[in-house]
């Protein structure tokens, strides 16, 4: 007999509403159904009513955490359409903003993941240090989120010479913090026991589901738009992509932590290499045609396609966010796990959709619906961590 446990769409810590139905047999998950659309805002249609300049602002508001990746892909698409090459200084500035965002996003994920396994201290610490990055972004762009920096043919604001020592100092401040988190995650026996071998996404499945970013790389799929199709200044700086083999939750966490080191490296190189110059070509209009833009968001490849008929508005605008493919892969990653671990697996893909506001247990035999309130799933997860702690004697 299999039971169905719906998860969502609301959750106390959750950013977006999302709805999962877990089919369980005893403790084991046998099937996962995902329902989307709580957050569907019709952006592709709206984009057709906005001018090219406004589209960049619109796509910025697709996802708050990736709020420069979408403009990045969008400007890439429009520049591909018009055959435009932004000035070099603008490319460096764009790269810096993109990498700062990657650090802030990975830290955010790490904090939430800590919360999910019952380490609230980790959450508070991580988010405390995340403020370093938020402050930097605030200073450079004028806003902590939604930076509005990108435009076709350049950026809107320059990085002032006066700010550069501060950026450097912040990066230096970040490094020991990253070491701290790396140690906390990689050496902690409880986290290891909790995440090792859980929610494995095999290399083959990763390819079938076409997953991207830090969901694909820990499964041995070496894709990274920054390397494969270098945009902005990524072709001019030196960095590595982190590829791991295990495909479990632990590998996903490690992958993200190691990536932050690379981001710091990229930012420092950009600051060193940046030369004074113009930051913006004044682009008046775009020709008719098609453009494709890609960018590596913290969660994977963002893909934008635009079609222009030569007017001021796009004729069609298509957006593919990385989570679109990554979330679908949960259908296989969750199967065979316990309910307590399923929460973690769903979270590992980031955005963490472990929405647990309402649990409805559907008993298949007499179609009885039982509505439970509260964070039962998170509690399950916390209990599992406690149990492991006891077993390990820590």
């Amino acid at each position: 007999m299999s039971e169905i446990i719906p998860i969502g769409p609301y959750h106390p810590l959750q950013e977006e509403p999302e709805f999962f139905r877990l089919h369980v047999e005893g403790e084991k998950v046998v099937k996962l159904e995902i329902e989307l659309g709580y957050n569907h805002r019709g952006i592709e249609k709206l984009a057709e009513t906005k001018s090219w300049d406004q589209v960049v602002f619109l796509v910025e508001r697709i996802c708050g955490i990736c709020s420069t990746s979408h403009p990045a892909a969008s400007t890439n698409a429009m520049e591909d359409l018009g055959g435009i090459e932004a000035p070099e200084r603008a490319q460096y500035i764009r790269t810096i903003i993109c990498e700062l965002e990657r650090i802030h996003s990975h830290l955010l994920w790490l904090g939430l993941a800590g919360h999910f396994i019952g380490y609230n201290t980790v959450w508070m610490w991580v988010w405390k240090y995340r403020e370093i990055v938020c402050d930097l972004l605030d200073k450079i762009t004028g806003n902590r989120q939604s930076y509005a920096m990108f435009k076709v043919g350049g950026v809107r604001r320059d990085i002032l010479e006066d700010d550069i020592p501060w950026i450097r100092a912040s990066m230096d401040k970040l490094k020991p913090v990253l070491d701290l988190f790396k140690g906390a995650v990689m050496d902690d026996p409880v986290i290891r026991a909790r995440t090792r071998g859980v929610g494995i996404l095999t290399n083959e499945m990763a390819k079938q589901y076409c997953v991207v970013g830090p969901t694909a790389r820990p499964s041995g799929v070496a894709i990274d738009v920054r390397k494969d199709d270098p945009y902005f200044a990524y072709g001019m700086v030196d960095f590595d992509i982190v590829v791991l083999e295990e495909g479990d939750v632990f590998a996903k966490a490690v992958c993200r932590i190691l990536e932050m080191y690379e981001s710091v490296k990229i930012i420092e190189q950009c600051i060193d290499k940046m030369k004074p110059g113009i930051i913006d070509l004044k682009i008046k209009e775009l020709p008719a045609g098609e453009g494709i833009g890609r960018a590596e968001a913290p969660r994977g490849e963002v893909y934008h396609y635009c079609l222009s008929d030569g007017s001021n508005f796009p004729a069609r605008y298509k957006v593919r966010a990385p989570s679109y493919t990554n979330i679908a892969s949960n259908e296989v990653a969750c199967v065979g796990e316990t309910v307590a671990d399923a929460a973690l697996v769903l979270a590992a893909v980031d955005p963490c959709y472990c929405c647990t506001e309402r649990l409805v247990v559907v008993d298949h035999d007499n179609r009885r619906e039982q509505v439970l309130q509260g964070n039962t799933l998170i509690q399950l997860s916390h209990e599992r961590t406690k149990q492991i702690r006891k077993e390990l004697g820590v």
């Binding site: 079938q208 390397k227 098609e290 453009g291 490849e301 396609y305």
Partner: protein, 145 residues
Amino acid sequence: MTWNEIKADIKGAFDGKILKWHEHNDTRIYVDIEPADLVEFSRYIFEKLGSRFIIASAVDTPRGGIEILYHFDFFKLPQVFSLRVFLPKPKPEVESLASVIKGTEWIEREMAELFGITFSNHPNPVHLLLPDDWPEGNYPLRRDQ
């Protein structure tokens, strides 16, 4: 494989089935094919050439039909390879790719509800984004709506 080898391979294998080969620039390639060849073509580049499916975008064109672009890329290469099929209205229909590539399942459901395209043999043809009680025949991304 380098891009030139892949290009020669595709051109050789599908000689006569390629309606148009357009290179916007070095890294953006658009290829028009017949809808009937789509499954075979995608199977070839996905399984034999080891490409990755990125996404599909549907466009309601003024030419009296709907175009679908299936975007692929080849690992480690900067090229984006887009297969274009044209489906005439009023009944745009094409074979589902979900049996070949699992990752196409969601986007096909999305295109079905936003554009009213029928994907034959789709494993799970239900709404993805829109509410279940969304009125039949109202396709928000079509131009005539």
